[in-house]
């Protein structure tokens, strides 16, 4: 099957383009709901449109898409007002406000829908489309509508970017400096309601919620900057829409909406695993590296401790001597010694190890930090001397040179730690 040829088909093009437009717009708006910790707002609003669709049909008797759309937007906005009102004026929190609004509005919609069904009008077929969506039935006119809505909301986000950004991160501050918070919230809410309502016909209630949550959540892993997050979310949304359309193009029985969501979830999983810095793999590597450094420094420190009584830092020690002084799993010890030898901190001669000059300096620094910290805890925080070792054991690997200097200044270079062990300075002498 030639895919490129199929894209010449107007209907196929409409579905693909429509899904991409929807994904883009929802991705961008989703970033704002995500950052305001209202990721499930889309879900609640999508449900809240049902009574509006039914009422519009009951009142006007037509199934014209624009009439139904107007009804949907009306109750969607009402749902938004209900969530905001509950959170602002009662002690009920976001989550319960969303769940209540969602279920009560949808319940009302179901009551109306059953009435329509019982009234015998064979019309409710067209209303179902609002619940479950039907991307395959997209026509050119729908794409124009979607395109118009998407361009409008992207333009609005660009024009009011600075305002929306502050609203997302620090709404109280925006209010303090006199910005019209209410109007901004209303604008953002209106954009979300319109985007949700338009999207419903494509992918249905539940999957519309996904388009608002998943691309934004995925984008958050890649960056700490809002403009970048918006762009990444838009790209992921567009990619998901295209992927969904492609699947249902290749396998015609497959629904577009669910595959769009699966594609978005796939993008989310990859982001969660592989994103630099915030991703799971990057975090795991960071953790392992940190643990390795801690082990390495502990081994260096043990070599130092072994040499301390005699003062002979050039003597070689066996692995058994090290393990006797500081018990640790043999594999961990030999791994650390291998790394330290390779990087030039220790020198390996036969089966024995001794500190190189650089290694001795580093070991001395760790010991110094440990003992300085113990002095700090006993003298400044008045902890008992037998309670400070564990804490120092942890922090000795993390104190920066700046903090080290601060400690030396604060404590005026004490000679001994609380256990009467000498504190080695580089170079020795009083603090300058």
């Amino acid at each position: 099957m030639n895919v490129a040829l199929l894209f010449g088909d107007a209907n196929v093009r409409a579905v693909a383009l429509g899904s991409m437009l929807l994904g883009t717009g929802a991705g961008v708006l989703g970033c704002f709901t995500y950052l305001r910790k209202r990721a499930l707002l889309g879900d609640a609003l999508a449900h809240a449109t049902l009574p509006g669709v039914c009422l519009a049909f009951l009142v006007t008797g037509t199934k014209h898409p624009l009439v139904l759309l107007a009804g949907a937007i009306a109750t969607g906005a009402l749902g938004m007002a209900s969530v905001n009102g509950i959170v602002r004026h009662t002690r009920i929190r976001e989550d319960a406000a969303l769940a209540l609004t969602l279920s009560v509005f949808f319940g009302a919609g179901i009551v109306l829908l059953t009435r329509i069904q019982k009234s015998g009008a064979a019309a409710q077929a067209g209303l179902d489309r609002f619940l479950f969506g039907q991307a395959a039935s997209l026509v050119q006119a729908d794409v124009w509508l979607l395109g118009g809505v998407t361009v409008m909301l992207l333009a609005a986000v660009m024009l009011a970017f600075k305002e929306f950004q502050l609203l997302a991160f620090d709404a109280p501050f925006a209010a303090t400096i006199g910005w019209p918070i209410g109007a901004l919230e209303l604008l953002l809410s209106a954009l979300i309601v319109v985007s949700v309502t338009v999207g419903l016909q494509l992918v249905g209630v539940v999957l519309m919620a996904a388009l608002l949550v998943t691309p934004a959540a995925a984008a958050r892993y890649w960056t700490d900057r809002l403009p970048r997050m918006l762009m990444i979310a838009a790209l992921i949304g567009a990619f998901s829409g295209l992927a969904g359309a492609m699947v249902s193009l290749i396998a015609p029985r497959m629904p577009t909406g669910p595959w769009t969501v699966v594609a978005a979830t796939f993008a989310f999983l990859i982001s969660m695993l592989a994103a630099p810095r915030r991703g799971l793999i990057a975090r795991l590597l960071r953790y392992l590296r940190m643990r390795q450094r801690t082990t390495d420094e502990n081994v260096l420190k043990t070599l130092y401790h072994l040499a301390e009584p005699s003062g002979d830092f050039d003597a070689a020690r066996s692995g058994a001597a090290l393990a006797a002084r500081r018990p640790m799993p043999p594999r961990e010890l030999s791994g650390a010694l291998g790394r330290l030898a390779q990087a030039g901190w220790v020198h390996r001669a036969g089966g024995e190890f001794r500190l190189t000059p650089a290694g001795r300096d580093r070991a001395r620094r760790v010991v110094r930090l440990h003992r300085l910290w113990e002095v700090y805890l006993t003298e400044r925080l008045h902890l008992a001397a037998d309670h400070v070792h564990e804490d120092a054991e942890n922090i000795e690997h993390f104190l920066t040179p700046e903090l080290e200097r601060e400690l030396e200044l604060l404590l005026a270079r004490p000679t001994y730690d609380p256990h009467r062990q000498p504190i080695p300075y580089d170079p020795p002498g009083p603090v300058r």
Binding site: I92, D95, A99, L100, F105, G107, L113, K118, P255, P258
Partner: protein
């Protein structure tokens, strides 16, 4: 027994067991979990249907319950290990599972006589005719009443037994941990109870009513009291009342019973939010008025007297 009695009893039992669990969900700010679970079970039901190739309720119930627990676990994992906001974790999980469910159903459309509608809108109106008849031919009444009654008793029993621990966990997990209460265990017990309650209830009353009953009665009760024990009792009472009221409303409007019960929950919440003496909007405004109504002269006189 008339059908109306069985329908109201089923609704009341579903509402009762949802309300009990719902109180803890509302206090832990996890009310949307019920919504998530009731959607996420779709693939479980589809797979159970494929494996058992029948509409037997038991395999479906097991499939749904497994997926419910899975949803709760994945949500928790995304939140803890994936460092995702709780609400986004819920959203990502349930929408993707639901999408997979829809895909399964369309892929095996020939073999699965199921659609999203019948899963999401379990119809409470059919409850009186789905009877449990033993092999000896004894009619024991509607099946749903037994299932939901069991779920209600189970919830009441375990909440009663672990009441003190649950209470501390709900209000101050940090304190609970320092007292040696296994906070994680109670969290997962609550998740398990939520998914079992959700699954048993939505099969007969529909997902929407389950969401309404998990969040609604608990939120209403929270507006009336500061005591957990009172909150639980008020929530159950509100749930039962909305089941009865909803049935009457559905009769009057000739519409969906489950939908009408949800609407009654909404109305009761609106009334409580406006008029509850503790937290209602109207009493609060009145209190503020009264404070402002003390004439300045009188205030001055009081100051002089002091």
């Amino acid at each position: 027994m008339s059908p109306a009695f069985w329908i109201i009893l089923t609704g009341a039992l579903a509402a009762g067991s949802c309300a009990l669990v719902g109180c803890f969900l509302v206090l832990r700010r996890m009310a949307m979990l019920g919504d998530a679970i009731s959607h996420a079970v779709l693939p479980g039901i589809a797979i159970a249907f494929l494996l058992s190739s029948s509409r037997e309720p038991l395999p479906m119930l097991i499939g749904a319950a497994l997926l419910g627990m899975f949803t709760a676990l994945v949500t928790e994992w995304l939140h803890r290990q994936g460092r995702l906001q709780q609400d986004a974790a819920i959203g990502v999980t349930f929408t993707s599972l639901f999408a997979i469910g829809v895909i399964l159903i369309s892929a095996f459309a020939g073999q699965i006589d199921l659609d999203q509608e019948c899963v999401l809108y379990g119809e409470i109106a059919y409850v009186p005719w789905d009877l449990w008849v033993t092999s000896a031919g004894v009619n024991l009444g509607p099946r749903a009443v037994w299932i939901l009654g069991g779920a209600f008793l189970l919830n009441a029993a375990w909440i009663g037994l672990a009441y003190k621990e649950l209470k501390v966990c709900a209000f101050d997990p940090g304190l609970a941990a320092s007292m040696g209460i296994p906070v994680g265990l109670f969290h997962y017990a609550l998740m398990a109870a939520t998914s079992i309650t959700t699954v048993t209830a939505f099969e007969s009353v529909g997902a929407i009513l389950v969401v309404a009953m998990l969040a609604g009665p608990a939120a209403i009760a929270y507006l009336w009291t500061d005591r957990l024990s009172h909150m639980l009792m008020i929530a159950v009472a509100v749930g039962v009342a909305s089941a009865a009221g909803g049935y009457a409303l559905a009769r009057a409007l000739d519409g969906s019973i489950a939908g009408a019960m949800a609407v009654v929950v909404g109305l009761m919440f609106a009334l409580s939010a406006l008029f509850s003496p503790r937290d209602g909007v109207v009493p609060r405004v009145l209190r503020r008025r009264r404070l402002g109504a003390i004439p300045p002269a009188q205030l001055g006189a009081r100051r002089d007297a002091a």
